[in-house]
Each structure stands twice: as structure tokens, then as C-alpha cells.
């Protein structure tokens, strides 16, 4: 029997971690060379410019900003745009993460290599989260700079907010990965993620609050802790807004509650994403 010498290395968990790192590294290169990264950079820069620039343009100062301190100012400035930015970035980086392997011929390139699907999934996930995080830092940098200008300081609480933002990016990205595993077409995965994150979650949350139900299962709701953590003691869990016709209960998540919602989405979405990805064959459309 003819035989040839061959590489006999470890094929266990350490090798899987190594493969994951390789996929992570090349996925970063991939993202950085795509138009979508440039598009995301422009979108986040625009949102930051709108957040920060309007204040500067209108000559807002510390006395007219309406916030007592740096922490409140940062929370107030980021509360709306940050979750939107995170949703968009996560959708564009995660919405085609696995469908590019199961729904296009790229699958035949990578899946015939000695790499497990879990390494592909996690390598890509960490790459998407890291790049999303770096982009979101642009918004933090803009608001922090303005806080320094207005208040002569930047609240140390911004660090906790950044950690929560990283958690939220990971959660949104995990959900986008789940959609990428469900849909074969990479474009549909991205679009569906954008629609769910920006429209569906927002609309459902609004409807629930109008009907006085706490939207504890909506990721956007849980994600509000990203800004809430800057001044948690000053925020009530429920605020009743009375109108002549009816009363609306405006909910704010507890910090633990927001973290639990984000953690739930992160873990469940990643597990489901892996199960679906593992069960799918490469079948280009």
C-alpha cells in the first residue's frame, strides 16, 4: 500500500479555537475591504454628527443643554440614536454571516477545509462584534468630547455604558446571525434584520407601552440600560403619562432586567443560529 506522510496535529478543542481565530482574522480583513464597512462608517458618522452637531450648530451650552451633569448629558444625547446605530451595524455585519456559506458557492471554498462550523460561526461573530463596537465608539467619542466642552469632564459612568453597549452589540449581532442562518439569501438576511431591529421591535414596544404592558421581551427595551446605567437612581421603572383620554405607562428596564434580556437574546440566538447552521447543507441559489 502506497502512503504519504501527512500532518497529524491536534484536531480537538485547541485546534477549533485556532481555526476560530483564523476565521476571525480574515473576517475582519473581509469586512474592512467591503463597501458595507464604508457605508456603516458613514452612517455612524452621520448619526454622530447629527447628535453632536446640532448642539454645536444651535449654540447649545452647558447652561442651555438642560442636563445637570455630564452623566445625564451623555445619557440624554445617546438615548435615541445609539440603539438605532447598534441595530443597523449589527444587521449589516451579521445578517449574512452564515448564509454566505450555505446559500452561495463560497461554502464550497471554506466548508471543504478542516474547520468546524462552530469555529466559523464564532470567529465571524467576534469579528462582527468587534467592528460594530469600534464603529459605535465614534458616537461615544463625539458625545464625550461635547461633554468635556460643556462640563469640563466626562462622567466615569461612560465606561459602564460602553460595556453595556458592547453587550447590546453582541446581542443584536447574535440575532442577526440567527436570521442569517434561517434565510438562504444573504441579502434577505440583512434586510430582514434591519426591518426587525429598526421597525418591528420599535413598533411592538410602542404598542405594548400604549396598552400598559411592560415590553420585557423586546431587545431594544432591554438595550435602554446602555444609557440608563449612567444615572440609574434617577430613573423610575414605570412612569404614568396621563392624557385626557387615557394613561400610558412608560417603562424603563431595571439594570438587571436589561442585562437579562440582552443575555437571553445573545445566548438563545447564538445557540439556535449554530443548530440551524450545522443542519444546513451548502446549496447555492
Amino acid at each position: 500500500m502506497e502512503s504519504m506522510s501527512y500532518r497529524d496535529t491536534d484536531y480537538g478543542y485547541m485546534n477549533d479555537l485556532r481555526s476560530m481565530y483564523i476565521l476571525f482574522k480574515y473576517q475582519i480583513k473581509f469586512y474592512l475591504k467591503t463597501r458595507r464597512f464604508v457605508a456603516m462608517l458613514i452612517i455612524v458618522a452621520l448619526i454622530t454628527a447629527l447628535t453632536v452637531g446640532i448642539d454645536l450648530y444651535e449654540g447649545v451650552t452647558k447652561s442651555t443643554a438642560g442636563f445637570a451633569n455630564s452623566a445625564d448629558f451623555i445619557a440624554g444625547s445617546l438615548s435615541g440614536p445609539l440603539i438605532t446605530s447598534i441595530g443597523i451595524v449589527a444587521a449589516f455585519f451579521g445578517g449574512d454571516a452564515t448564509s454566505i456559506e450555505t446559500g452561495t458557492n463560497s461554502g464550497y471554498f471554506i466548508m471543504t477545509q478542516p474547520v468546524r462550523k462552530i469555529s466559523i460561526l464564532m470567529g465571524r461573530f467576534f469579528a462582527a462584534v468587534l467592528l460594530g463596537f469600534l464603529l459605535i465608539m465614534i458616537e461615544y467619542a463625539g458625545v464625550a468630547a461635547l461633554s468635556q466642552d460643556f462640563y469640563g469632564t466626562v462622567s466615569a459612568g461612560i465606561l459602564l455604558s460602553i460595556i453595556e453597549a458592547l453587550f447590546l452589540i453582541a446581542s443584536f449581532t447574535a440575532v442577526a446571525f440567527l436570521f442569517s442562518s434561517i434565510f438562504k439569501n444573504p441579502l434577505i438576511g440583512i434586510l430582514f434584520s434591519v426591518i426587525v431591529f429598526i421597525l418591528v421591535f420599535g413598533i411592538v414596544q410602542a404598542i405594548l407601552e400604549i396598552t400598559n404592558i411592560e415590553p420585557w421581551f423586546i431587545l431594544n427595551y432591554g438595550g435602554e440600560v446602555v444609557t440608563e446605567i449612567l444615572s440609574p437612581s434617577s430613573i423610575a421603572h414605570v412612569t404614568s403619562i396621563k392624557t385626557p383620554a387615557f394613561t400610558i405607562e412608560k417603562y424603563e428596564p431595571y439594570i438587571w432586567e436589561g442585562n437579562a434580556i440582552m443575555g437571553g437574546y445573545l445566548v438563545i440566538s447564538l445557540i439556535l443560529s449554530y443548530i440551524i447552521f450545522r443542519s444546513k447543507e451548502v446549496r447555492p441559489q
Partner: protein, 309 residues
């Protein structure tokens, strides 16, 4: 450690619903050389290749590559084989170098060894400038990049499913030359629709039809059993097809125009009849070329498929 040059396929089946894509196929291949895996479109060739490289799991049966089971030892096997299945597409945004580096690193190779491969093997198969993005390449160029990636790590066993798909004749020649060189001390399993390519490169042939294995034989033996039944004849001067048909009337099945002064003659393959055809053609005009049209393998392919319909 060593990897035996051996592929063992036992009672392999793949069933999708009620459709049997591969139906209880068994074969063994041993030693260096090239084996062609042939069949019509939809016969189950690519499905078999996918099962042999762990892309899909068999419904039943098993595959052993170099003595290892593909289901339980998939990663070990894929580290030590080359596989080009269907039409793989490297990521469009990555460069040629990055695409090959990615595969090499996943196979556990040192970066310097991968660079050497890009430099030497890449030059051999004429890959494009390594700094170019894959998305800017033609189909043939991309196919050569993928081909170069499949040969990383000097794999003892190489699976090539339609490797020359999308390539022009010059590119096909490059690939054919590599296969001819590598098969001397490696095992290559090849699927192709270009039967002349198979005749030129493979000494063994496996035919499958509708998911079932119908023949495993040496190419030479098949060629001797299935003589060519068509001839291309070229005349020096302009000849009317009617004159050729008239002269060969009753001797051949049919005559068709090929190119200028060239005709394809279909007959029963009998050698005496072949000699007669040549003699009669020479009566029509001055013959400058008289050769087989198509390959014996093509003849075998058509007949085997017909017999198994």
C-alpha cells in the same frame, strides 16, 4: 504518520425524501494515479464527492479516506486532502493571497510555506496577481485560484469535481498538465464532462447512472471494448457532402458537415468497414486527414447510459 492512498466506499446512499441521489454505491481505489468518476448530469457524482469530503452526511453506508472514516475523522481527513467541489467561490472582497493564506492557515501550514506555494504552484497554474481582489477576477482566474488552494499542503489524495469548469482551452491545458504530473505519486479522483480530458489523464474510470454504480474499469480496457464509431475526414479540396454521401451510401449510418472540407462519418465501428470508408473517401477526393471523432470513452459513456436506462 502516513496516510494510505486508499478510498473505500461501502454501501453508500444519500436519500432526499423519496429521491435516491446515490443508491448503495461501493468501490475501492488504491495507490497513486487518477480515477475518473463519470455519469450524466444528476447521476449523483457531486453528491458522492460531497459525501467523500464530509460536506454532507450519508443516509447510509460509509466512506474511508486513507483508512479514516469521513464522518468521525472529518477534520483530520480534510487537513490532509485537497478538495475542489462544484464551483467554489473565494470571498470577493479578499485578495488572491488572502484567499490562499486563509485555506493554508486552516490546514495548519506555516505562513512561509503558504507563500512558497503561492510563489511556486501559483506560478505553475498562472494565478493572477496575488494582490488583486477575487471579485475583480474572471471565472477562469477564480477557478485557478481555487485550484491552487486545493493543492496546498501537498495533499496525498485530491478530489477534483469538474476542475476545468469555466476555463478556456489554454487554462484547461495547465490543469491537465498538473494532474498528469501529480498523479504519479498522488491519488486523484476526478469528475469531468470533458471525456477527452478524462481519456488523457485517468487510467481508471467509474461510471454511475441514476445514483447506481454501473462500471469500474481501467480506461484502456474500456477503450478496447468500445471502439470509436465516428470518423472525421478532411479533404484537401472542396468536396460536396452529397458526393461523400453518395459514395458511402449503404456503408455508413450518416454523414454530417463539420468544417470546411471536413465531414463526420457515423458507422457501426467495424474495422473492415473503417478501411472501406477510407478507401471510398479517397475515390471522392484527396484525403489529408482521417481520424476518430470523439473518444472511445464517449462511445462507452453513451452505450453504458443507454444500457442502464
Amino acid at each position: 504518520m502516513s496516510l494510505d492512498l486508499r478510498i473505500e466506499v461501502s454501501n453508500l446512499s444519500k436519500i432526499y425524501g423519496k429521491f435516491k441521489a446515490v443508491d448503495n454505491i461501493s468501490f475501492n481505489i488504491e495507490g497513486s494515479g487518477a480515477t475518473a468518476y463519470l455519469g450524466q448530469n444528476g447521476a449523483g457524482k457531486t453528491t458522492t464527492f460531497k459525501m467523500m469530503t464530509g460536506l454532507i452526511k450519508p443516509s447510509s453506508g460509509n466512506v474511508k479516506i486513507g483508512g479514516y472514516d469521513i464522518v468521525t475523522e472529518r477534520k483530520r481527513i480534510l487537513s490532509n486532502i485537497g478538495a475542489l467541489i462544484e464551483t467554489p467561490e473565494p470571498y470577493a472582497a479578499l485578495t488572491v493571497r488572502d484567499s490562499i493564506m486563509l485555506v493554508g492557515e486552516l490546514k495548519g501550514m506555516k505562513k512561509s510555506d503558504i507563500e512558497d506555494h503561492i510563489e511556486n504552484f501559483g506560478k505553475r497554474v498562472e494565478i493572477p496577481d496575488p494582490s488583486r481582489k477575487v471579485g475583480t477576477l474572471s471565472r477562469g482566474q477564480r477557478a485557478r485560484v481555487v485550484f491552487a488552494a486545493a493543492f496546498l499542503n501537498n495533499p496525498p489524495i485530491i478530489f477534483l469535481d469538474e476542475p476545468t469548469n469555466g476555463m478556456d482551452p489554454a487554462e484547461r491545458k495547465i490543469i491537465r498538465d498538473v494532474i498528469l504530473e501529480w498523479k504519479k505519486d498522488h491519488m486523484i479522483m476526478l469528475s469531468s464532462h470533458l471525456l477527452q480530458e478524462v481519456t488523457d489523464t485517468c487510467e481508471n474510470v467509474i461510471f454511475i447512472n441514476r445514483g447506481k454504480l454501473v462500471l469500474q474499469e481501467k480506461t484502456r480496457e474500456i477503450e478496447s471494448r468500445f471502439k470509436s464509431k465516428s470518423i472525421r475526414v478532411t479533404f484537401k479540396d472542396s468536396i460536396s457532402i452529397d458526393d461523400v454521401r453518395k459514395m458511402l451510401s449503404g456503408l455508413v449510418d450518416r454523414v454530417e458537415d463539420d468544417a470546411s472540407n471536413s465531414f463526420i462519418i457515423y458507422f457501426d465501428g467495424d474495422l473492415d468497414r473503417r478501411a472501406d470508408i477510407l478507401e471510398y473517401c479517397q475515390r471522392v477526393g484527396r484525403v489529408i486527414s482521417f481520424s476518430d471523432y470523439g473518444s472511445s470513452l464517449e462511445e462507452a459513456f453513451v452505450n453504458i447510459i443507454k444500457d442502464n436506462q
